[in-house]
Symmetry: C2
Subunit: 163 residues, 2 copies
């Protein structure tokens, strides 16, 4: 476990204390795996990963703990175009923008201050108070375009977890 994971985990423990929630071994294992696993994964993917090192755990608990992590502000639920919810670590200054390769499922993070500024402008011009945004670009990465891609078909299988 990295020290960053450990820091996040401590914050989550504090959150549970503040809320009067029990700190169970399952919640700790799930949160640790969540913080330790980079990328954007579905409930099923997290469950498959966690159950490998902790076979007694239930999918429902993973589901509920991910929701809890969202509620605590440590996780964000994101939706790409396939309708499956994915979860990622909500870094304080992250902008949750992505480029998704529709051929191999690769997901890259993008961040552009000028776009952020234009978003704020647009929201202001419509008199909206902005609370969030989703910004995903879809296309084909260089590897897939050149036939180097691993044509797995989108939506990662369990093996993809460490991409």
């Amino acid at each position: 476990m990295t020290s960053v994971t450990n820091d996040f985990l401590n914050c989550f423990l504090q959150f549970m204390n503040r809320k009067g929630l029990n700190t169970t071994s399952q919640r700790c294992a799930i949160a640790a795996a969540f913080f330790d696993l980079p990328g954007h994964h579905s409930l099923e993917e997290f469950y498959q990963h966690i159950v490998r090192q902790d076979p007694g755990i239930g999918q429902t608990t993973v589901y509920r703990t991910l929701k809890l992590l969202c509620e605590a502000g440590f996780a964000s639920e994101i939706h790409f175009s396939d309708g499956i919810a994915r979860y990622e670590v909500a870094k304080p200054n992250s902008h949750h923008d992505h480029i998704v390769c529709l051929s191999c499922g690769k997901i890259l993070e993008i961040c552009n201050q000028r776009i952020e500024a234009l978003q704020r402008e647009l929201a202001a011009s419509r008199d909206f108070t902005l609370s969030g945004h989703v910004h995903n670009l879809y296309g084909c990465c260089a590897d897939c375009r050149n036939g180097v891609g691993n044509d797995k078909g989108r939506a990662a299988e369990p093996e993809d977890l460490r991409k």
Copy 2:
């Protein structure tokens, strides 16, 4: 039916002819309703709207015709944060960007050439061939902020969209 609807409908009839598909009364009724109904609606919403004026129609046919309209390039499937697919008329120069009010569900279209340009730049810098994008801003409209809103309670809970 507006003349624009009629134009779209004719194009769709041509598409069906080209593809050798039968032009059935159901397909025409569904396509007409689709072109005539402004906004972004789910399968269920279209079905409810269409079945009102044509009670014999089946949800499956609405589903399949919407897919057909997508295939023909007349419709686009869009995903907001609640995981339900919505369909909208794919106008040739539309950019499919939206501002969504999380309180009343109001959806406004937005379009910004500078953001489009920045998207192309970003994709190029990652060596991606861009085929599409999703860009939605979430927040609270002026009406809802001032308590005038009609609190329909559409879509996502706050934690879905945390930024």
